[in-house]
């Protein structure tokens, strides 16, 4: 029989004292969790991780050898003698708390869905979102596309990758954001405006809108703290409906849409607006270079002027880019267009605040 306790940390004496008075539970059946993998190892130790529950634990090699014995459901009493069992008790408790060893008769905890997931690139290579230091704008990906036949789950990634052409920079002399130059309008935009990227809202494909809404609500709430304007990278048009509910609260939502045909409806002057940009305009222009959408995009400077003018008459409290269909080559052009329009819309929001 093994004595794995000898090489690891000494058991807590007070715990041992209590344990002697408790009823014996050495007869309990324990089994090694299916979700546990060896994450890393070093001299004399291994780190086990429960992938499903995101717990991890560092074990001495003898203790690891002991844990391995539970590949088949086993009783501690059958594996180790009495006095060793007593010394092992804290480790066993710890292994159960970390969900490495499970009691097959007890239902385990349900996995909490993560709110946000990490992304490969951050928009304009801006800093990662930090709730302790809010920025003027916070980028959030919402890669949902179950509400339509639009293939948009990779759209936030495409927008972020293209946005690396427009890196976010701070000036060395005053540490202020440099902004960008817009050759179409001949103006500098977003000078002094800070931004950060909060990654994507975690999506469980197949879940209900209601279930997704809970997370969208929490994440947007977190990102809007400190007065930051959220920039939502969709997602299909369903993303707008979901985010709008949170942003407008109980108030009547006023939404200004740049539509797929290139039209931009101007809302009542003075009303706070949620600006939604439908990047299906790219697919429309791509499939027919003689369409209204293509005409609008060929005079992009005019369109940009209209978006900026909107910010002068209406406070813009949130912006989204939705409907970027990544099927076919229009997606590449749509991502380029999306970056231009996102930065223009952010400039418009600066003018409005």
């Amino acid at each position: 029989m093994l004595d794995p306790g000898s090489s690891s940390t000494p058991p807590d004496p007070s715990f041992d004292a209590d344990a002697r008075t408790e009823p014996r539970d050495d007869d309990r059946l324990l089994v090694l969790s299916d979700d546990v993998v060896i994450e890393s190892e070093g001299p004399g130790y291994l780190v086990l991780a429960n992938l499903e529950l995101s717990t991890r634990v560092r074990l001495s090699r003898p203790l690891y050898e002991f844990v391995r014995l539970f590949r088949e459901p086993s009783r501690v009493a059958d594996l180790v003698p009495g006095e060793v069992r007593q010394r092992l008790k804290p480790q066993l408790e710890m292994l159960m708390a970390k969900h490495v060893l499970l009691d097959p008769d007890v239902e385990g905890p349900r996995r909490e869905l993560r709110l946000r997931s990490n992304v490969a690139y951050r928009f304009c290579n801006s800093p990662a979102f930090d709730p302790r230091s809010p920025t003027d704008f916070t980028i959030i990906g919402l890669p949902c596309d179950s509400e339509s036949d639009c293939d948009s789950r990779l759209a936030p990634e495409a927008l972020r990758r293209k946005s690396l052409d427009y890196p976010f920079r701070r000036a060395i002399e005053n540490n202020l954001p440099c902004g960008w130059f817009d050759a179409d309008t001949g103006r500098w935009i977003l000078k002094g405006a800070s931004l950060s990227d909060a990654g994507d809202i975690a999506i469980e494909h197949g879940e209900s809108q209601a279930s997704l809404f809970v997370r969208v609500d929490k994440v947007l709430e977190e990102c809007r703290q400190g007065g930051s304007t959220p920039i939502i990278l969709g997602g299909d048009r369903g993303a707008t409906e979901t985010a709008l509910k949170t942003v407008t609260g109980n108030g009547a939502p006023t939404i200004a849409r740049l539509r797929a045909d290139g039209s931009l409806a101007v809302p009542d002057i003075g009303k706070a607006i949620y600006l939604s940009i439908d990047l299906a305009i790219a697919s429309a222009a791509y499939s027919d270079p003689r369409s209204k959408a293509a005409e609008t995009l060929a005079t992009l400077s005019d369109l940009k002027e209209r978006v900026v003018a909107l910010g002068r008459t209406n406070p813009i409290i949130a912006i989204d880019l939705v409907g970027l269909d990544m099927r076919g080559d229009a997606g590449r052009l749509g991502a380029a267009l999306g970056c231009e329009l996102a930065l223009t819309a952010m400039e418009a929001a600066c003018g409005s605040s």
Binding site: D182, A183, D184, Y286, L297, T299, S301, R332, E340
Partner: protein, 316 residues
């Protein structure tokens, strides 16, 4: 020189020349001819490969056109086999340009990526001052510190250092950029895509000095990507093809053209062959008006009168 019948070249396989023009290997071009050659290299493009496929795609797209062949010739493709790196690619491209110049031809480079433009311009500016017309969504003016490192993003900055390039006109700069690129130095003027849309082709022509030979470098991304999507760095808000065609027609009739290139067509990213076809139409516009160039070469002192309208302007 008897021009072969258009279409006399094999439709598929073998050497199908641009517009069915005479093959320079078989027939020496007449002095002053527009001498096309393909430069199938895309190692100077930092974003994506694919522009190396353009010479074949543009030649294929050109077959539908009927273009005068009396003062035109096709030198085939530069052979880049066994040549690696931008320096070697420029060297071997320059060899073809030199051959064309010896025959008193006007080089027409079909790229390939934009870094290749350095080869013809560096040779042409050795014997006379030239004005460079750079049609491009980008200024291609990224830092270049004199090292061997050379690509499509900083090619114009390198060209700007050449003493014979005395004037640079950048037409088509647009979109959101990290800095304001409208001032590229004392030789250069920039006309943004948005500004171009507010001017007539004749007004744009007036910016090109009438007395100096002009080299025209056309990055296909000067055209709006929804018309010409087959290019690696698309920027929305570009020119419609007809605007560029009108300008090229005026240039061919009213300025002396020292050389031309059409670069950055990427057939791997094209919508069918739309972009290659636009490239072919741009070249067709120059070729259809090339008799004016021959005229200018015959009577250089007179300086042909300004001709704003021409029956040879190609239909859009």
């Amino acid at each position: 020189m008897a021009a072969p019948e258009p279409g006399a070249y094999p439709a598929d396989g073998g050497r199908a020349t641009l517009f069915g023009w005479p093959d320079a290997l078989a027939v020496s071009p007449q002095p002053g001819s527009l001498c096309a050659f393909g430069a199938p290299s895309d190692t100077g493009n930092a974003i994506s490969r694919g522009a190396a496929l353009a010479p074949a795609a543009v030649r294929k797209a050109s077959r539908k056109h009927d273009v005068p062949a009396e003062f035109a010739s096709d030198f085939g493709d530069v052979d880049f086999r066994g040549r690696t790196g931008s320096a070697q690619h420029l060297e071997v491209t320059a060899e073809t340009v030199r051959r064309i110049m010896e025959l008193k031809g006007i080089p027409l480079l079909i790229g390939g990526d934009h870094s290749l433009t350095f080869a013809p311009i560096s040779l042409l500016q050795e014997t006379r001052d030239i004005c460079l017309l750079w049609l491009d969504a980008h200024t291609d003016f990224s830092p270049w510190d004199g090292q061997e490192f050379h690509n499509h993003k900083q090619v114009l900055r390198r060209i700007e250092t050449l003493p014979g390039v005395t004037r640079i006109l950048q037409f088509g700069y647009r979109g959101v950029t990290v800095g304001d690129e409208r001032r590229l130095g004392p030789k250069s003027s920039v006309v943004t895509s948005a500004e171009m849309q507010c001017r007539s082709p004749s007004e744009l022509l007036e910016m090109v000095p009438p007395a100096m030979p002009c080299y025209i470098s056309i990055d296909i991304d000067v055209i709006d990507p929804f018309h010409a999507p087959g290019t690696s760095a698309p920027v929305p808000g570009g020119l419609v093809p007809d605007t560029v065609i009108a300008l090229l027609g005026l240039l061919a009739r009213n300025r002396t053209i020292a050389g031309v290139d059409v670069v950055e067509v990427n057939p791997a990213m094209d919508r069918k062959d739309d972009t290659a076809r636009i490239a072919a139409r741009l070249i067709e516009t120059l070729a259809a008006n090339w008799s004016f160039q021959i005229e200018r070469q015959r009577f250089p002192a007179n300086g042909a009168p300004e001709i704003q309208q021409s029956p040879k302007e190609t239909a859009p």
